[in-house]
Point group: C2
Chain length 84, copies 2
Amino acid sequence: MGNIEIVGLVAATLTTSAFVPQVYKAFKNKSTKDVSLTMYTVFLAGTILWLIYGINIQSLSVILANGITSLLAILMLMLKIKYK
Amino acid sequence: MGNIEIVGLVAATLTTSAFVPQVYKAFKNKSTKDVSLTMYTVFLAGTILWLIYGINIQSLSVILANGITSLLAILMLMLKIKYK
């Protein structure tokens, strides 16, 4: 695997795992007032399309990154709706 | 341009523009208590790596999407620090 593919994998890991501290903060504080519902709705639509794109081009990293990010975005939406 | 490339472009547009409503909400309400500083720090590191990746593989859509997302993430970090 070339160096640049490693950069891509690290980038995917960072932009995916970045959502974990946000989900944790919302869950711990039971407060999401400042979090934008529109953001996570639009973002989820995007990650689902990326998932379709990744399946089509048969790219495991695009599939994995956007599969996990979609789950995290769904979790955030649930927390946002529950703790308006 | 094949259909799947259009899906990729729409996905990139959605996952990039999704941050605009969050930046607007933080700016309008002058409140970011529920927004995770860790998320936007880790996310920014990821988008910068995606930018490097995009430049290396000479992909305009990866460069554009992650260039704009990096700017939005920097804006969110500034708003988060300003309106703790």
